[in-house]
């Protein structure tokens, strides 16, 4: 971060608490910005209520300030589209949209869900009815009922016009918002600052609670198993713990994750067991490609601990395609704790056994063997890698390793 602080030129972060927490640690300016933004949220929490949209016919009657807030939302949508941030997978997107429409049938065609290429566990709703879910969060969920819990929550932010309310109640505080925005250019850049902050980083405590409660009601009405609802906050808590994220600043005014788990448990306590959307296998089949893409993305960002939450759970591994063992190995290698090299090696071998034609397992194992001075083995695996992937983008590196392995292996039995 320090390397690029001076040259930020094109940044707009949609990340939630996790990134905010990192900023706290690494950027002194961020503390001031966080305080300013926190004040904005605190002010906005006292905003005036407006009645929710009852169905999509009400959306055409949006006027004045609300229309302006929607336009700002459109700007964010355009920036996301132009920025190449959308995860393009029509089948998965259609599936998620289908769950949304089941929860909000009266808004079918007016709420549009998109998936973002991001490993962060986050989702947000814009006032214009666009709902964004990060790839990482979809990969982490275990079944449709958990996905529906999230969509019920985010959809409620839209139907209850939380973005508009936030914007209006914090209008007088926009000077503060701009101040915060300038201190956090990576977070909000040139986009409509206050809207971006509130949409992405969360709304006021009251609005979040309202979205939890009314989203839960939607879940129940649509016939989903409501006992899955606390799990989504448990996934977030696990991520916060794994990545050693300090409690983000906006939780000062928001319901804490642990409290939200308890709230959801209380809500569902009186409901009978059963309901739709509890099949982990069905969800796994629908998310198979997204989960692999998400793992790839997560590991390429160095988030090995977060990946291992899923990958070190033997109950969750069958939810992934067989080459997942390669990613297990990569996660251990990248985590780099004591004993992880051995765990990585075991996983790569399992991957080769499960999917012998999957090239990356050979490269990974070859490099491990090379570093352990087992040159003949290294040569065998690296040769196999280039045989399976002759156009590999890292061919230059692999060839340099092979030269070493061949030279050294000459002296080995």
């Amino acid at each position: 971060m320090r390397r690029n602080r001076a040259i930020r030129q094109d940044t707009y972060s949609l990340t939630a608490s996790t990134l905010a927490a990192r900023r706290h640690r690494s950027r002194p300016f961020a503390r001031c910005g966080a305080a300013a933004l926190g004040l904005v949220w605190a002010l906005s929490a006292a905003g005036a209520k407006v009645p929710p949209f009852t169905d999509s016919s009400a959306l055409g009657q949006v006027t004045g300030d609300e229309r302006r807030v929607w336009s700002q939302g459109n700007e964010i949508t355009q920036a996301i589209d132009r920025g190449g941030m959308i995860y393009e997978n029509p089948d998965t997107t259609a599936y998620v949209q289908g769950v949304m429409d089941r929860l909000f049938p009266e808004f079918k065609g007016r709420t549009k869900v998109a998936i973002l290429k991001s490993a962060q566990l986050n989702a947000f709703a814009l006032p214009n009815g666009r709902i964004y879910i990060n790839q990482g969060l979809l990969a982490r969920f275990q079944n449709e009922a958990q996905l529906a819990t999230l969509l019920g929550h985010e959809g409620t932010h839209f139907t209850n016009r939380h973005g508009y309310q936030n914007e209006m109640s914090a209008k007088d505080a926009s000077g503060f918002a701009l101040f915060g925005a300038m201190l956090l250019p990576g977070a909000i850049g040139l986009l409509p600052q206050l809207l971006a902050i509130s949409s992405v980083y969360g709304f006021s405590r009251e609005m979040e609670t309202e979205a939890d409660v009314q989203g839960y009601a939607r879940l129940k009405k649509a016939g989903y198993d409501v006992h899955e609802s606390p799990r989504i906050f448990e996934h977030l808590m696990a991520d916060v713990k794994a990545e050693d994220i300090k409690e983000p600043f906006f939780f000062a005014t928001h319901p804490k994750l642990a409290d939200r788990v308890q709230n959801m448990k209380k809500l569902s306590a009186g409901s009978p067991a059963g309901g739709d959307g509890t099949s982990n296998l069905d969800y796994a089949n629908k998310m198979a490609q997204l989960r692999l893409d998400s793992l790839e993305h997560m590991l390429s960002m160095g988030r090995a601990k977060s990946a291992l939450i899923m990958l070190s759970d033997p109950e969750r591994l069958p939810e992934f395609p067989p080459q997942v063992q390669y990613y297990v190995g990569e996660a251990y290698r990248l985590r780099g704790q004591e004993g992880d090299v051995k765990l990585a090696e075991e996983a790569y071998l399992k991957a080769i056994e499960a999917v012998p034609e999957f090239p990356p397992s050979y490269r990974a194992l070859g490099v491990l063997r090379l570093k352990a001075n087992h040159y003949a083995d290294a040569q065998k695996y690296l040769d196999r890698y280039l045989e399976l992937a002759p156009d590999a983008p890292d061919r230059g590196y692999v060839e340099s390793y092979l030269k070493i392995a061949r030279k050294k292996a000459g002296g080995q039995p």
Binding site: G83, L190, M301
Partner: protein, 210 residues
């Protein structure tokens, strides 16, 4: 100038410790004299608060070179990783890519278009190129080169929009990389294990030098 540019300028000024200077003679020493590099004459250079050497011709929004020297433990602050003396160049490149991806949502969606071994200042290192779009849909490219010594991690990067600027000024960056040299005192410091490992096992002609 839009709000973003105002913010960028504020941050830029805040991050820079010394006033900008025109590059009059190409050979330029790093802030702590630990390295020297040929910079394009006529560009503007500035030492940032973090002792980085920032160089631009038309402004950092259009093109920039950035040369950074950090202690190995502080090499990758966003991902909280350190450069270590057992890392191969490809592993350093992997961490550097993770670092860029962690900057924001736009760089998170980047594509690596090239990633190769490279020799920089006589050291085995890496060079990769990435591309991504900013919020306006403008494609940005960055080339990053780096290597690690026992006492420091060195990184050089060039960034510019693909439209006109990247191809126009990338050769200047290539010249800078080719001219990059550590000072005599640094040359005497011991090399990383990976460096020794590669040096002992590869002849100079084995390596990709670009």
């Amino acid at each position: 100038m839009n709000k973003f540019n105002v913010a960028a300028v504020v941050v830029l000024l805040g991050a820079c410790a010394a006033p900008p200077q025109r590059v009059d003679s190409s050979r330029t020493e790093g802030p702590d004299k630990s390295y020297a590099v040929d910079l394009p004459v006529g560009w503007i250079s500035q030492v940032t608060q973090n002792k980085q050497l920032l160089v631009t011709r038309d402004g950092t929004l259009l093109e920039y070179m950035l040369i950074t020297k950090t202690p190995p433990k502080e090499a990758f602050p966003k991902t909280k990783k350190a450069a270590s003396d057992s890392m191969l160049p490809a592993e350093l490149a992997e961490l550097e890519i993770a670092e860029i991806k962690s900057e924001d949502q736009f760089t998170a969606a980047l594509t690596v278009t090239e990633n190769t071994p490279a020799e920089i200042a006589g050291r085995s290192g890496f060079r990769f190129r990435v591309r991504y779009k900013n919020n306006l849909g403008l494609e940005i490219q960055r080339v990053v080169c780096g290597f690690a010594e026992k006492s420091a991690y060195y990184q050089m990067q060039f960034g510019a929009p693909t439209l006109y600027y990247f191809d126009r000024y990338y050769p200047d960056f290539q010249k800078a990389v080719a001219s990059f040299q550590l000072s005599d005192s640094n040359k005497k410091t011991s090399r990383l294990k990976s460096e020794r490992f590669l040096s002992e096992n590869l002849t100079r002609t084995d390596r990709t030098v670009r």
